[in-house]
């Protein structure tokens, strides 16, 4: 056999097999998002192993599942103006879950898994978020056509241990911001939130108690803000 150790090939295979722990998955997802060759290796293993799924017999899903999906794909951008509690779909429950869990960063990265074989996309809308009247932006936000929103810090941001920064979206015409989740404190260069954002949606970062706002609305000062604009 060719004695190519090919550690990356093995990692791609283990990733697709699913036998890695969540921290390893997160690291490799991050890597794949920046390394097209590695992403292609993962996608190739996803294709190779997928036939194994035929070993599992089909099971009728619960009867309410289609209704949940149908509600989630309904073309209602105005739902964002409703209180988060009433929002349909698992995206919103996931966002609340992420806020409630210390494993939030893992969940955010994992949301990208399985999307590597897709055609790459350019961002649809971007925003820079900075302090009011401040000299330079603090975050760059990109809303992508797949419904994700990527938030990249442009400078180092320090937050006291008793606090967290939380990202909010205020779509045009909405009166209440919707939480997009707590911004990971360390080590994670970007936040990814599945969220359909549109032009003129305002993005805000507020200072909240550790773990995020307990009320579902901003409770602390808005430190950074910006508005999504189309890339033309």
């Amino acid at each position: 056999m060719s004695d190519r150790p090919d550690a990356l090939e093995v990692l791609a295979a283990e990733y697709a097999l699913g036998c890695l722990d969540p921290a390893e998955m997160r690291m490799l997802t991050e890597r794949a998002s920046q390394d097209a060759a590695f992403a292609a290796a993962i996608a190739a293993w996803e294709r190779r192993l997928a036939p194994l799924a035929a070993l599992v017999p089909p099971v009728a899903p619960p009867p309410g599942l289609w209704a949940r999906l149908e509600q989630a794909i309904a073309p209602t951008t105005e739902v964002a103006a409703a209180p988060p509690r009433e929002l349909p779909g698992s995206v919103w429950r996931s966002v609340r879950f992420w806020r409630a869990t210390t494993a939030g960063a893992l969940a955010l990265a994992a949301a990208f898994a399985g999307l590597f074989l897709l055609r790459p996309v350019a961002p649809l809308y971007v925003a820079t978020l900075g302090p009011a009247g401040g000299p330079a932006p603090t975050f760059l936000a990109e809303a992508r056509p797949d419904g994700s929103l990527v938030l990249r810090p442009l400078t180092s941001v320090q937050v006291a241990a008793t606090s967290d920064l939380e990202l909010w979206a205020l779509p045009p015409g909405a009166t209440k911001p919707v939480s997009l989740g707590v911004i990971p404190r360390t080590g994670v260069p970007r936040l990814t939130v599945p969220r359909i954002a549109t032009a003129s949606t305002q993005l805000m970062v507020s200072l909240e108690p550790a773990g995020g706002s307990p009320t579902g609305q901003p409770t602390g000062p808005v430190l950074y803000a910006g508005t999504l604009r189309g890339l033309e």
Binding site: V10, G18, C19, E46, A54, L55, P58, G89, S90, T101
Partner: protein, 190 residues
């Protein structure tokens, strides 16, 4: 083993071409999304249920995966992979993510029950050319290593889970899986 190969009858609903449904979904055709759901939901739910052992988590995993399908259908490129494989991949990642986050926060969650992973069961793979090739290559593996691959994929077990389940040192499990995967690669793409 010398199991009779039964006539392979495609069990898909007639003429519902998944790639065509994805193209329709890409243009916002919700009726096509419903047809895709009718065709794929039971298969995906079965996979998710096996991975999560939880009807609630399995339903969440299928919902999240199909929402990703709806949102990303326009970016799907059949030249990069079969649509069936994409759907399987999405639901597996969602299910693994959900069950591992839940397991992390609910200590004492029961590990999945042992399942009978006989080589004969692999005959179930012969439904597609890809599946037949994979089956042939799995059959060529040492039985213990084949079992690791199948358990990892179907039951969603990590290296550590497999080591616990089989009472085998973690390093041994990792090395067996690594070698099995490289053997599969050589067999599938010689």
């Amino acid at each position: 083993m010398s199991r009779e190969l039964e006539t392979v009858v495609p069990d898909m609903s007639p003429a519902a071409d998944l790639a065509a449904l994805l193209r329709a979904c890409a243009s916002g055709d919700r009726a096509a999304f419903r047809r895709l759901y009718d065709r794929e939901a039971a298969r995906l739910y079965g996979i998710a249920l096996r991975l999560t052992r939880s009807p609630a988590l399995a339903a969440d995993a299928v919902q999240e995966a199909l929402l990703q399908v709806w949102r990303n259908a326009a970016r799907f490129d059949p030249a990069r992979g079969a649509p069936e494989a994409w759907l399987v991949t999405l639901v597996r990642y969602r299910a693994l993510d959900l069950v591992r986050r839940t397991a992390r926060e609910v200590p004492g969650l029961e590990p999945p029950e042992a399942e009978d992973e006989t080589p004969d069961a692999l005959a179930g793979l012969i439904r597609s050319a890809e599946g037949a090739a994979l089956q042939r290559c799995l059959e060529a593996l040492d039985p213990e290593r084949r079992r690791l691959i199948v358990m990892a994929f179907v039951d969603g077990l990590t290296h550590a889970d497999l080591a616990n389940r089989l009472g085998t040192p973690l390093g041994t499990v990792k090395s067996w899986i690594r070698r099995a995967l490289l053997s599969l690669r050589r067999c599938l793409e010689p």
